[in-house]
């Protein structure tokens, strides 16, 4: 398996651990965006996306910086404030331990289901 994919699985584990530590145990954390519709039936979904990779030159060769985007998607769609509250709790649980740089509001659209409130977290690390 590639080093980036290995790290992606580590990020999933770290996100899961931080959510559990914050008392959030109904969220599904995954690398697979296609699992979101089924996951939303049980609670919020957190999706770790493939990172942007930047290569910085050093005298010894290049260093890889990975910028990760993590989607946080939650319902219910009929109660936007309740969905926002669930997303907010997840952001609070992740922002410090994951050293998050930004959180952008978004909407999750998927064929066959209503649009869901979402946020996109972003953080960068050297891998």
């Amino acid at each position: 398996m590639s080093a980036v994919l290995d790290r992606a699985e580590d990020v999933v584990a770290e996100v899961t651990g931080n959510l559990v530590a914050a008392g959030i145990d109904d969220a599904t954390v995954t690398l697979d965006l296609l699992k979101v519709p089924a996951a939303l039936a049980n609670g919020p979904a957190v999706v770790v996306q493939p990172p942007r990779l930047d290569y910085t030159g050093t005298m010894a060769g290049s260093v890889t910086d990975a910028t990760w985007e993590v989607f946080i998607i939650a319902g219910p769609v009929a109660d936007r404030l309740a969905a926002w509250r669930r997303i907010d709790a997840i952001i609070d649980a992740l922002k410090d331990p994951m050293d998050v740089d930004s959180a952008e509001p978004a909407t999750f659209a998927h064929p066959g289901m209503p649009d869901h409130p979402a946020y996109v977290l972003s953080f960068t690390e050297t891998i």
Binding site: T58, A60, G61
Partner: protein
Amino acid sequence: MAPKAHRLGPGSLKFGETGTPTEFAAQLTNARISPSVNEEDAIDVLSGETIDGDDTIDWVVAGTLHQSFDKAGLVYWCFENRLTVVPFDFVPNNDESDYGWRGNCKIVPIDAGGDVKTKNTSDFEFKVIGEPTTYDIPAV
């Protein structure tokens, strides 16, 4: 002669005694050995001619590095070795360099810290004591 322009790196910059040098290439985003020529004014003599002044060249080993806050990093090493004179060995490109540079330089402390949530860098400039020398790198 066909023009050539080699990229800097992957290369090597080591400080310390032969046999136990410390390699810092992985932290460096800029590395160079730089001369500065000090030109003394020519002296006019009675005949109307001039005598060249005594020019000198000062050298520094300089560059920019990513800070790391562990004891294996150059920031800590520079602090621990401040004001000591140590050998250096600089190879700009491991594959393309026909020769490297060696000499002795005086270590001075460098910046630690900077902007929060940023991978900070520090500039360094170590005065070369005496003249550097070059040495041939055998072709592989």
